[in-house]
């Protein structure tokens, strides 16, 4: 899909504008609706103010003596200059690095991040060679984040789109309030993962802690290892051929495909016994979801 200009957006209806900006416009019917990956979505960098960057133009930023604010301003300055590949060096656990990037970009973080790393992003592909602290990828809208080591708690909290991948293990409350997108964990996840999940998919190749999927509204959780316990209203469902196909595709894409395939994954969905908003007006439903 081609980019649209600010002027064109202003002429559109709300529905057209939402579609042009890559947002889902599905009607909430109380049934699960999933948006498959759209190859054309890679061209949806439609923010009128987005920088025109070249992936082959690469630069490094040594973050050692910079504050988080200075680093994040430097990223924007480099994008303004057309750099499409930016490498952050020596992050050493700094918080909030690379947040709020609404642009196509290859961001490589050589080392580990602290809290709220690359949250609120829409578009960039991020690779982190170290570990991340709490709330990595929180509220991300699109793009990919791949972490080579472990991650802290509330991994991908409230994320809406894109792929968030941790090759190691993650902390507790992974994907809390997840509203879309895909979370993939190569190792284990802690307690209350998928708590109040509303949409999207979570894949855990290892074990899951207690109260998995507690109070989830919708969405799917796939666990390759053991589940310590299920949360309230989370139930096991049958793994379909479509699930197997999707799991194989996603796990292969990120080099996390188990040798024994995907048949051993357990699928967890909402039992929907806690749903009590079907009597609401459509506008109220939108507020909830």
């Amino acid at each position: 899909m081609a980019s649209v200009t600010d002027a064109e957006l202003k002429e559109m209806s709300q529905d057209e504008r939402a579609k042009a900006l890559g947002m889902t416009t599905e009607q909430l019917t109380g049934k699960s609706l999933y948006i498959e990956f759209d190859p054309e979505a890679t061209d949806r960098y439609t923010y009128p103010w987005a920088y025109d960057v070249d992936f082959n133009k690469r630069t490094e930023i040594d973050t050692d003596n910079l504050t988080t604010t200075e680093v994040n301003i430097a990223i924007r300055d480099k994008m303004k200059e057309g750099y499409g590949t930016i490498v952050l060096q020596n992050p050493r656990g700094k918080h909030s690095l690379g947040v709020g990037i609404l642009n196509k970009l290859n961001l490589i973080i050589e080392g580990s991040c602290g809290y709220f790393g690359v949250g609120l992003i829409d578009g960039p592909n991020v690779r982190i060679t170290g570990r991340v602290g709490w709330s990595c990828g929180e509220n991300m809208m699109s793009g990919t984040i791949v972490i080579e080591k472990n991650a802290g708690s509330t991994f991908g909290a409230a994320m809406r789109g894109g792929d968030l991948v941790c090759r190691g293990s993650v902390g507790s409350r992974t994907g809390i309030d997840q509203k879309g997108g895909t979370i993939i964990v190569g190792g284990d996840t802690g307690a209350l993962s998928g708590f109040m999940m509303q949409r999207g998919r979570m894949v855990v190749c290892g074990n899951a802690g207690k109260n998995l999927g507690d109070s989830m509204y919708d969405g799917m959780i796939f666990v390759g290892g053991e589940i310590k316990s299920l949360g309230v209203d989370a139930i096991e469902a049958e793994l379909t051929d479509l699930d197997r196909h999707w799991l194989t595709r996603k796990l292969t894409q990120y080099g996390l495909m188990p040798d024994k395939g995907v048949d051993h994954f357990t699928k967890i969905v909402a039992g929907k016994q806690l749903w009590n908003y079907d009597n609401l007006e459509p506008s109220e439903k939108k507020l909830i979801l």
Partner: protein, 314 residues
């Protein structure tokens, strides 16, 4: 919010004073009100080290009369020490209200405990710690301020725990700052990040069993609780496990003894802790940025899960 940190060197001593300062300074944003250390040095000649305060920092603004009050309190403290058979080998004073004594004493731990109880009967006096290796220092301000005031950057030892406090449910003063000594048990200290929701129930239970509380800070309960368990022959690891079932709330806390460092995380894993383990050093903190302050190279770290308990030996 509060920040906690701890480290333990296996089989060797290092400059834990400056290491803890670097870690706690990196956690300043989690709690700028006060900073505290419990660091463990090599015991010397069987001596005891006592850290005490004879006033709060804010008392110093009360005019000329306070100096005389403090001198009286110190004289009374030293009279009790002499009465109880303790020999003052050295006394250092970082401030007018904070003092460090090196004491010779031939009695057992129980007699040292009795002496501690008598000293604390003096109005305004609080013993921060007694031990053969433990030195507990806490004061208002960030780590660089406290380390500078108490000369901590040269402290050599095997392990330590520390705390940066954001006062939420009690005052900004030294008695509410962490770490807490597990009165009256030598060399046991605690730091905590979280909120204990059955504090008053547990406190009354501990008070009925004869334990003393010096503040209204919920974290002090963990020190008293640990002391109670150790006194009843429960191991540190078992005490930590027991606490997860008996203490309500959200918490992550660290306990140090003369040769051990332990951690426990509540059933919800609601409070953070990042762990680094190597063959000769274990370091942990509320945030990785604190560990990176002493280990800037790329390392592997992880978050312990809910109800996780670990104990390491120096």
């Amino acid at each position: 919010m509060c920040g906690i940190a701890g480290l333990i060197h296996k089989g060797k001593s290092a400059n834990v004073g400056s290491e803890m300062t670097a870690m706690l300074q990196a956690l300043k944003h989690r709690g700028p009100d006060s900073t505290g250390y419990a660091v463990y040095g090599e015991p010397k000649d069987g001596d005891y080290i006592m850290r005490l305060k004879v006033a709060e920092a804010e008392d110093m603004a009360k005019g000329r009369g306070i100096t005389q009050i403090l001198e009286t309190r110190i004289r009374e403290v030293e009279e009790i020490m002499a009465e109880c058979g303790a020999t003052v080998k050295d006394r250092q004073s970082a401030t007018k209200y904070a003092h460090r004594y090196v004491l010779g004493h031939d009695g057992d731990e129980a007699s040292i405990g009795e002496m501690a109880k008598m000293i604390e009967e003096i109005d305004g006096v609080e013993i921060l710690s007694i031990g053969r290796g433990l030195e507990l220092i806490k004061d208002l301000g960030d780590a660089s301020v406290v380390a500078g005031l108490y000369g901590l950057n040269d402290f050599v030892g095997t392990h330590g725990i520390g705390h940066t406090r954001m006062a939420t449910e009690s005052d900004v003063d030294i008695k509410s700052a962490h770490p807490y000594w597990a009165f009256p048990y030598n060399d046991v200290s605690v730091v905590h990040n979280g909120q204990i929701t059955n504090y008053w129930i547990m406190r009354r239970e501990m008070e009925r069993k004869g334990h003393r509380f010096m503040s209204n800070c919920d974290s002090e309960l963990l020190a008293v609780y640990t002391a109670h368990n150790l006194a009843n022959g429960i191991s540190l690891e078992d005490s930590l496990r027991k606490s997860i079932g008996e203490i309500d709330g959200v918490f992550t806390y660290l306990v140090a003894t003369k040769d051990q460092l332990g951690m426990a995380k509540d059933t919800m894993a609601a409070k953070p802790l990042v762990l680094y383990e190597s063959d000769d050093l274990i370091a942990m903190a509320s945030e990785e940025v604190a560990i990176r302050a002493i280990l800037p190279e790329e390392i592997d770290t992880y978050d312990p899960y809910d109800e996780e308990v670990r104990v390491w030996q120096a």
